[in-house]
């Protein structure tokens, strides 16, 4: 390939160094840790804290009715909610630490937690 002719020996060194730098920064992508637990809150209080290891469904009672939460290995979602706009249901699967689905009308929230606490912009 003729483009390779423009590369001098030191250039390869810089490319390798750059690649190493990229490799070193890669862990930052997983800084929040892996999704390990699902935290279900009802009226602001923790209703259940479930390990994202097995498959199960949880029914959370609220002022409007029951919110149905599905837990699967590594992810969780709100399956059904009596709220009028269904925002939390349409959010779909949550798989990264810090992700949260809030069913405000029914006072239920589902949050994914990892080993370390991940913050989002809500903390400002």
């Amino acid at each position: 390939m003729r483009w390779l002719a423009y590369l001098r020996p030191g250039d390869w060194l810089i490319i390798a160094g750059g690649a190493a730098l990229v490799g070193l920064t890669l862990p930052l992508l997983w800084q929040g840790g892996f999704a390990e637990r699902a935290i279900i809150r009802q009226d602001g209080r923790i209703f259940a804290e479930i390990d994202l290891g097995s498959r199960r469904e949880v029914t959370v009672p609220g002022p409007l009715g029951a919110t149905l939460v599905a837990i699967e290995p590594g992810r969780a979602r709100i399956v059904a909610d009596p709220g009028p706009r269904q925002y939390c249901v349409r959010q779909g699967w949550l798989a990264r630490p810090g992700e949260i689905a809030i069913c405000a009308p029914n006072h239920v929230s589902l949050q994914i937690a990892g080993r370390t606490r991940a913050y989002d912009s809500l903390s400002y």
């Binding site: 423009y6 001098r8 030191g10 250039d11 750059g18 990229v22 930052l28 992508l29 929040g32």
Partner: protein
């Protein structure tokens, strides 16, 4: 009484800087037209001009061309004095400082590709620092560092190769200063 007339003498150097800056601005506009999956990930085509200018005409001319490009580019794209302007300015400053040091590397071993990659990393590094200190004062800014670094490596290499090719095709009009 006649108003005193200020004579501005335009030197050949001024014309050259203006032409090169124009080329850089045009590439900036092309850059902005390319859709990007993530703000901050851009090819940075205008840096090809900076590299060629640095190698052909020296660091001072490169500073002029780069500075004019940031100023004129921001005016044309409408982000003058907006956060994006300061990000562009910081990126340009960091990469120019890096280029100022890196151009002393032995040319036999390190070509335009090396300069381009080093400048690209300095560029994104400076921008991340500014973003952390000023725009988003939270360490979350650094979460996407791997993506930015990878983009810097890829686009730095490509731009460096293009600059190397241009330098090979355009014969040096005058000795390098």
């Amino acid at each position: 009484m006649t108003a005193s007339v200020t004579e501005l003498t335009v030197t050949a150097e001024d014309r050259r800087v203006a032409w090169l800056a124009t080329a850089a601005v045009a590439l900036s506009l092309a850059d902005a037209a390319i859709p990007s999956p993530l703000p901050g990930v851009k090819p940075g085509l205008a840096n090809i001009v900076t590299l060629v200018v640095l190698i052909r005409h020296g660091w001072a001319t490169a500073v002029w061309v780069s500075g004019l490009r940031v100023l004129a580019g921001s005016l044309l794209l409408g982000y003058f004095l907006a956060p994006a302007f300061f990000l562009a300015l910081t990126g340009a400053t960091f990469s120019l400082l890096t280029l100022g040091l890196a151009r002393h590397l032995p040319g036999r071993w390190f070509g335009p590709v090396s300069l381009s990659i080093l400048a690209a990393f300095a560029h994104i590094g400076g921008q991340l620092v500014l973003a952390r200190l000023w725009l988003i004062p939270h360490d979350g800014v650094f979460l996407l560092t791997p993506v930015f670094a990878a983009a810097a490596l890829v686009f730095g290499t490509i731009n460096g190769l293009i600059a190397a090719r241009l330098l090979g095709e355009i014969p040096a009009a005058e000795p390098v200063r």
